[in-house]
């Protein structure tokens, strides 16, 4: 699972950086319309990232609830983490 996360992370990270090239954003050069456009684009992609995380957490919470409602974790000290 760790390796899976790692690969997903790297792929997503490069997609995001390719789209935004964050390093171009600096206060004095952001005055031009093109730079402003990049800043706004980065902001929108960032929000997509945040909303994606929130959605995944909500899905995980539902999954956790589903398992908790099955009552399989009770009275079982060595059960794996319901993360």
């Amino acid at each position: 699972m760790m390796r899976g996360s790692f690969i997903v992370g790297i792929v997503l990270f490069w997609i995001i950086t390719l789209f935004t090239h964050v390093e171009a954003i600096s206060r004095d050069v952001a005055a031009s319309p093109y730079q402003r456009y990049i800043v706004y684009q980065a902001l929108i992609l960032f929000w997509i990232g945040i909303i994606g995380l929130v959605i995944i957490i909500i899905m995980k919470l539902k999954e956790v609830k589903r398992i908790q409602d099955m009552d399989v974790h009770k009275e079982d000290e060595d059960a794996p983490f319901l993360d």
């Binding site: 390093e23 206060r27 800043v39 902001l43 945040i50 957490i57 908790q68 060595d78 983490f81």
Partner: protein
């Protein structure tokens, strides 16, 4: 696999499973006012943001009256992403203070301070004072004309306290006037002394929360639902709030970057229409209510005394509110809490509009 090996290495030496059991054993009560439980976690998260962005800024800031202003302009214009991290620090501070005030008023109104949580209240009270000094000292570090004037006014205001006012003023200013000495002091406060104090106090505060568990308001005692496990249910809800908070400060930082005025000049006339930061507006407005002379005393002195005593009263609330501590509804202290909240909100709004 490396992660498996590392896990084995640690579990052979430390009882990680026990820590996991502890986490799973932690349950959070659920009732219709349990949203207030998230305000503390949010404040903690914003503090972490402040620590991280502050560490970055400390690498570039020059605490000298000649160069402080220029170093901030350089951070904003020359450094990679400097404008972003300074704005993040600026907006993170605003949100941290707002979130702490919400946390404070929520716990004041829900009587979370009542027995046996008095010490939690005391540590929280210290954190409010620490955060106010964080804000004041951080605001001064940019060394522009507004900050300079504001610090002269604020330290001068503290000087109006009877007896202890004079020494406090000299301590804060490092002399009789706001100079380089003041900048050195506020820099030390902002990057060394206050972070140390807050680490200790926040640590104690969080530890005490673990010892006592979450407080259930008196009115909700009999209407509780099934308690939720902290991990994973409540923790993930915390995470959602933290991510949204990150989104908000990043958006504010990008759309409304922190600004800077003209460089401070101790000889220049004060800027037009000066106002303190929003979390000081209520003090500012209160001072305006008092006339210059009252019954032969200096009006400012009386005003500062009244404000200090009202703040001190907040610290003593858990020790005075006997009914709450006995587990009974305490209408008098609900009224006092509502009055404090209304006063704070009203004075802040009036201060804004003026």
């Amino acid at each position: 696999m490396i992660s498996r090996k590392l896990e084995d290495w640690i579990t052979e030496r430390y009882d990680i499973k026990g820590l996991g059991r502890l986490l799973r054993a932690k349950y959070v009560p659920s009732h219709c006012l349990d949203a207030s439980y998230f305000t503390g976690g949010l404040t903690l998260f914003l503090f972490i943001v402040q620590f991280l962005t502050g560490m970055g800024l400390a690498l570039y800031y020059v605490p000298h009256s000649e160069y402080a202003y220029k170093s901030i302009v350089d951070i904003m214009t020359k450094l990679n992403m400097g404008w972003f991290f300074r704005s993040l620090h600026h907006w993170g501070a605003q949100l941290a203070i707002a979130s702490l005030f919400v946390h404070f008023f929520a716990n004041l109104l829900l009587k979370a301070y009542r027995k046996p949580r008095e010490l939690l209240w005391v540590t929280g009270f210290i954190m409010i004072i620490v955060l106010v000094f964080f804000g004041l000292s951080g605001y001064f570090l940019i060394w522009d004309q507004r900050a300079f004037t504001a610090i002269r006014v604020a330290t001068g205001g503290a000087g109006n306290l009877p007896l202890i006012g004079g020494p406090i003023k000299v301590f804060l200013r490092g002399g009789i006037d706001v100079t380089q000495e003041t900048l050195t002091r506020f820099y030390a406060l902002h990057v060394a002394i206050l972070p140390m104090i807050s680490l200790i106090i926040i640590g104690l505060h969080v530890l005490l929360v673990q010892v006592h568990g979450m407080s259930v308001p008196v009115s909700q005692k009999d209407k509780q639902g099934q308690p939720q496990p902290f991990f994973p249910n409540v923790f993930y809800k915390d995470l959602i709030i933290w991510f949204l908070a990150t989104g908000i400060i990043v958006t504010l930082a990008v759309l409304l970057p922190a600004g800077i005025g003209t460089k401070a000049d101790p000889m220049a006339p004060a800027p037009e229409n000066i106002k303190p930061e929003w979390y000081f507006l209520f003090v500012f407005q209160t001072l305006k209510l008092f006339p210059g002379q009252m019954a032969g005393f200096n009006g400012e002195t009386i005003a500062m005394t009244v404000i200090s005593l009202s703040v001190l009263f907040v610290l003593l609330v858990p020790f005075l509110d006997k009914r709450s501590s006995a587990g009974k509804p305490s209408l008098a202290y609900t009224c006092i809490g509502v009055f404090y909240l209304l006063y704070f909100v009203a004075m802040t709004i009036i201060g804004f509009l003026n």
